[in-house]
Assembly symmetry: C2
Homo-oligomer: 162 residues x 2
DNA sequence: CGCCATTCAGTTGTGTGCAATTGAATTGTG
DNA sequence: CACAATTCAATTGCACACAACTGAATGGCG
């Protein structure tokens, strides 16, 4: 139905757009709420947990690389890493080879925290009520969306297109 | 393949969990980036645009109702609404019937802005690269996810159940 | 070698998000 | 009517995000 005519009035577009950004926002914040509860035991916020995940998986990294993995810049990471350092989970050390760069290293305490974090994913997965295939499917869709949006953002920004 | 055994080692769960929260986060921020560019002409941020959408659709509302539509509390809305008021788009007036309540009303300027905002959804929809059905499908999945996460958050929080 | 563009982390300023608290207003109950 | 519980907006404190800028360090190029 609606194969050809009915040129989708502007008001409908607006509504649809509203729904998609609403839904994404709501889902993101709902995730944040669940993580907040689950991570309280570990003394981590959700973004801090993401940083620790990257470090646990890839080992010590300069701030720049960390930012590439997480799509975050130094404006966000610098204060966050300071808090992780204050909590004793990481150290920050100027690289000897390149004094501009700062290496983020896991402390023993930071490494040890991984054991306690291992139970987090199961609790989160349970909370979603989704099974493995559904999660994979959704993830693929979201990544596809992100890719398209990033490409569009570059094109929309006058002066940033390449 | 992998029909029955392979009981999914813990490390895999962790990886999967990482991906889903990464993806959702990334998509949300990518949306933010596109909206930032598109909304700059209107002088609105993305959350401010969401508030305006609700007001355009439902008319004047008390802060409380606004928060219910957007899942935001007064801690977020109060300063945001002050900025919208400073921009001349809304007025805030104590309700005569209930002095606790503050009515958020569109000014003429705020109402007029809707005309210029009508072109936003099309640009966003184009940027996603998704067609109407794909968006609807994704939205449904996300709402389902949000519902499950909210329910789980209530259960996980000791002392907030019921 | 000297200079300039680039790279990198950090800082500043603005704007959310959310928990917790405050204080005024209202409602329910006796 | 009086009093306790509740509702509501605002505020405070903390933690992201991100743009714009700063300053130190590096690398390329003549």
């Amino acid at each position: 139905m609606t194969t050809a005519p009915t040129p989708t009035p502007t008001a409908d577009w607006l509504r649809l757009d509203q729904q998609i950004c609403f839904s994404l926002n709501a889902a993101s914040r709902a995730f944040g709420g669940v993580y907040r509860v689950v991570l309280k035991d570990l003394g981590l916020t959700y973004p801090q947990y993401l940083v620790m995940l990257v470090l646990w998986e890839h080992g010590d990294l300069p701030v720049k690389k960390l930012g590439e993995h997480l799509r975050l810049d130094s404006g966000t990471l610098s204060p966050l890493l300071k808090r992780l350092e204050a909590a004793g989970l990481v150290r920050r050390e100027r690289s000897a080879r390149d004094e501009r760069s700062v290496e983020v290293r896991l402390t023993e305490e930071g490494t040890a925290l991984r054991e306690r974090a291992l139970q987090v994913p199961r609790r989160i997965a349970t909370a979603t009520g989704f099974d493995v295939d559904e999660i994979r499917e959704l993830r693929a869709r979201l990544d596809q969306l992100t890719e398209a949006l990033d490409a569009a953002a570059v094109e929309e920004t006058p002066g940033r297109g390449a």
